[in-house]
């Protein structure tokens, strides 16, 4: 198992990775509560960005409706907790199963009938919109008035029911992001990973080499959906309130993919780097504005827009590939 993770990774990269892990683990000791909440946001985007990257970056299937899986995961786990008192550690399995099932339905419809590219992207948006409108009218889940989780006393952390302060959520989110990185790393070096890359590059050639492209794409959408839903579960228990109008909204789907796009689609580290850059810069910007006493609503979105513009124009492969080379981590051309 260990060799799967270290194969083909330079010592320098391992050292840097270990250093980064230690810094992140130690962060709550030094960081303020505010910084912790920012870091939770960063890790959340790094996590769901990695999940989305499996579909787009690895298998080449553009989904613009990943908020659907976040929302499904969040609602599934939250509903079980609110209505039946089922804790998140059991609820997450239901969340992952329902997201995977919905992902499989979308995937089947698209891949069985040859819906690809932009049309597939539109299909994913459509399903997220269905969910948004549907959940808006589902009174058992609170409808448009929202679903609220009972808020616990922040004085103690209860990991079993995920009730507690930001530090606990920080560590849970950090573990998930780390686990997602390990999973993506292993996937990319496995048979299915190479098949995904082949399909991304040329479906015709991939099929001629014996790859069942329908099956592989289905695996990609199911894995990506299930992973994304886990982010939703955390989202629900961290924010304690869910509104269909927010969680399924297309802006959430877009927000989720900005990290990987800025960091580098199809790279392992890209989604994480992108999440750090975007969130950290956006928070710094709003801090500066707050300090200067300027109130500009929507400045974050404008800022995201400029970041995207800059990356698309000057670094079409994302920030990570050149950054990785500059740090001396990419030993050879084609290293991800």
């Amino acid at each position: 198992m260990i060799h799967l993770l270290t194969d083909g990774v330079s010592r320098r990269a391992l050292k840097l990775l270990a250093g980064l892990c230690l810094a992140l683990i130690a962060a709550p000791l030094a960081a303020s509560d505010y910084l912790i909440t920012v870091l939770i946001l960063v890790l959340y985007f790094a996590y769901v960005g990695q999940a989305w990257n499996i579909m787009m970056g690895f298998a080449g299937q553009l989904s613009l409706g990943h908020a659907l899986y976040v929302g499904l995961g969040a609602y599934a786990a939250a509903a079980l907790y609110v209505h039946f008192g089922v804790g998140p550690w059991l609820g997450l399995w239901v969340a992952m199963a329902s997201a995977a099932a919905v992902g499989a339905v979308i995937g089947f419809l698209a891949f069985r009938f040859g819906v690809g590219g932009v049309y597939f992207a539109i299909l994913t948006i459509a399903f997220a919109e269905f969910a948004r409108i549907g959940f808006d009218h589902w009174s058992w889940l609170g409808g448009s008035a929202g679903l609220f989780l009972p808020v616990a006393n922040y004085a103690h952390n209860d990991l079993l029911t995920l009730r507690g302060g930001p530090t606990m959520f920080y560590y849970v989110m950090l573990t998930m992001t780390g686990a997602a990185f390990v999973v993506c790393h292993a996937l990319l070096r496995s048979r299915i990973g190479y098949y995904w890359l082949a399909i991304r590059e040329s479906p015709d050639a991939a099929q001629a080499l014996g790859i069942d492209i329908f099956r592989c794409k289905m695996v990609a959408v199911v894995v990506s959906a299930a992973m994304t839903s886990l982010g939703g579960v955390l989202f629900a228990f961290y924010y304690n309130n869910l509104f269909p109008e927010q969680i399924f909204h297309i802006s959430r789907s877009i927000e989720l993919i900005l990290g990987p796009i800025i960091g580098g689609i199809g790279t392992l580290v890209g989604p994480i780097v992108g999440a750090f850059l975007l969130t950290a810069l956006a928070e710094t910007l709003s801090e500066i504005l707050r300090w200067a006493g300027i109130d500009l609503p929507g400045i974050k979105q404008v800022f995201y827009g400029f970041c995207l513009l800059g990356v698309v124009m000057f670094l079409p492969d994302g920030v990570w590939p050149p950054l990785g080379r500059w740090l001396g981590l990419a030993r050879e051309e084609g290293e991800r």
Binding site: D204, A208, L209, I211, E333, G334
Partner: protein
């Protein structure tokens, strides 16, 4: 010799255009057969029917006695037919090694094993120096070799080559011819090739099939076929005699 590939009565029309009309031929096990004919004769359509890319309107395709017509391309590949594309389709964003590795996974139980196999085949095709290079950075002759390497890596019983020598220099063509001869002699690999480079066709083939206007107009040993008046008229021209 027993037949490895049998094509029986294949017909295919593209909205009014008769691309193939009742085409039948046999590729014996262990042979190298050339499929020749003028442009638009239906050679690539014929390949696509066998490979499962195009569905024939009528007829049967058998590989070692098993009917494979109607199968998907990936199923045909797993059944033992490797093919190259006339317009090469490299995985541009992957390295040469990764390109061949994807093919090798079809023949290997593990990624580790596939890596070793891909390495060997890259060596054989003379791409060893380029193994880490992105496929997008290769020259056309190199891409043609990559195309062959990938198809070969899938571990086929029958290798179908669609104009892999077009655009190669004579020395490169000779190198390729020598490689196919070796593969055929040492590993018993059966080869069906579409080719316009007659120098290569004549050097390799133990049998020729000539297509014209979607019909087989001649088939047999190269020496006979190249003297057939109908073949001379439609394809080879007088000077070939």
């Amino acid at each position: 010799m027993t037949a490895l590939l049998e094509v029986a009565g294949i017909s295919k029309s593209f909205t009014g255009l008769r691309a193939l009309e009742n085409v039948s031929f046999v590729v014996p096990e262990g042979s190298i057969v050339g499929l020749i004919g003028p442009n638009g004769a239906g050679k690539t359509t014929c390949f696509n029917v066998v490979a499962g890319v195009t569905r024939a309107d009528a007829g049967e395709v058998r590989l070692a006695g098993t009917r494979i017509d109607g199968w998907r391309p990936d199923q045909v590949c797993r059944a033992g037919i490797g093919r190259t594309f006339q317009l090469v389709k490299p995985f541009a964003g992957l390295s040469v090694m990764e390109n061949v590795l994807v093919g090798a996974l079809n023949a290997c139980a593990s990624v580790r094993e596939a890596k070793a196999r891909a390495g060997d085949i890259i060596e054989q095709l003379g791409l060893a120096e380029k193994r880490r290079a992105m496929a997008a950075s290769l020259t056309l002759p190199e891409r043609k070799r990559l195309e062959v390497a990938r198809a070969l890596a899938t571990g086929p019983r029958l290798l179908m080559l669609d104009e892999v020598m077009a655009g190669l220099r004579p020395t490169e063509t000779d190198h390729m011819v020598a490689l196919f001869r070796t593969l055929n002699a040492n590993m018993g690999l059966t080869i069906l090739l579409i080719e316009h480079v007659m120098r290569a066709v004549m050097a390799l083939s133990s049998g020729l099939i000539v297509l014209n206007h979607g019909q087989v107009i001649a088939a047999g040993p190269p020496a006979e076929v190249t003297r057939d008046p109908a073949v001379l008229e439609c394809y080879l021209g007088e000077e070939a005699v």
